[in-house]
Amino acid sequence: MINSSDTSSQKKNSAVSLFFEGAKDTFPLVVGAIPFGIIFGALADTAGLSFGAAMGMSLFVFAGSSQFVAMGLAASGTPWPMIVVTTFVVNLRHLLYSATMMPFYKNLPHAWKMVLAFGLTDETFAVAVTRYGKHDGVTGKHYYNLGSMVFMYLNWNLCTLIGLTAGKTFPEISRWGLDFAMPATFIGIVIPYLVSKPMWAAVVTAGTVSILAHGLQHKLGLMAAALAGVMAGVVCEKLFSDKKKER
């Protein structure tokens, strides 16, 4: 975290080359986001979301997993305030990202901070924090960060548009089992998490409570299940670490 702008070995990388370097390093993650963006757009109609609402989410919210969650909730008739609260909970992890980026952004002008904060997705955070962490004396890494986020943003919105267009062009797309695409996608996302006992505890608890608390009003069952799952994970992790504490 040493600010190396005062070292004499400072390298002069141009803003443009840093911008494209950031975009290039984000390429694999951009490819990974393509199916998500298209599926998100294609499912919107089935979920009962308008074109404007789905496109608006990609344009202004720009947070893939929470957009899917919001769509799933909208499909089951959840009132909008509950969707906003759930979005808050799902995206709360981004607080850790901004906490990590604070020292890197601290000397940037205000407008830069706002732009980079808007684009602080999981992908761009992962790429940018690695670049910032390299003590190579290069200055202007915010251009690298910007290149990464612009590439992710354009791709995400283009893919959403493609999906929306496909959904509109082939309305029978919902008969191709697309109402199952959402649970299938979510299962595919959750499985890689299941590498530890606390994570299993969290997921099993959340699943059980989601059924038990399903009857609660305003879809509060979801919040209850998520909270119970998180608590189960934290408690279980604590139990395991206490067991092998003697270090």
């Binding site: 919001a70 808050f88 697309l178 979801l222």
Partner: protein, 115 residues
């Protein structure tokens, strides 16, 4: 063509989502210095995405009509979900999991509709 058919509550939803998401990503930056969260908070956040997603998956698979639990094996959502878990666990590939489990789901749906 933007905005076609968007309803007022959808506008509130998108605006609210945009506001809270940007708020979370931005709120720390006007402050200077560093930020340390309590350990339990950081740990807890790691469990949020799988817990929330599971809490959405399970009812949508076990209660396809939104009211009654359907644990029968002629529930195509349940068949598809079991397939997704197996395929995902074996191949650890997201796209493959989605595509193959949808094929299983469609097959089950077709089979039970025909039978």
């Amino acid at each position: 063509m933007f905005g076609t058919g968007i309803t007022l509550s959808e506008i509130y939803m998108v605006a609210g989502m945009a506001l809270v998401t940007f708020g979370i990503r931005y709120i720390l930056f006007p402050a200077s210095g560093r930020m340390q969260f309590p350990k339990w908070f950081e740990k807890g956040l790691g469990y949020v995405p799988p817990a929330v997603l599971t809490a959405i998956i399970v009812p949508s698979v076990l209660m396809p009509d939104g009211k009654t639990i359907d644990l029968n094996l002629d529930n195509p959502y349940l068949i598809g979900a079991i397939a997704a878990c197996i395929i995902g666990g074996v191949f650890k590939n997201l796209l493959l999991t989605i595509v193959l489990s949808m094929v299983v789901f469609l097959g089950a749906q077709w089979f039970f509709a025909a039978g």
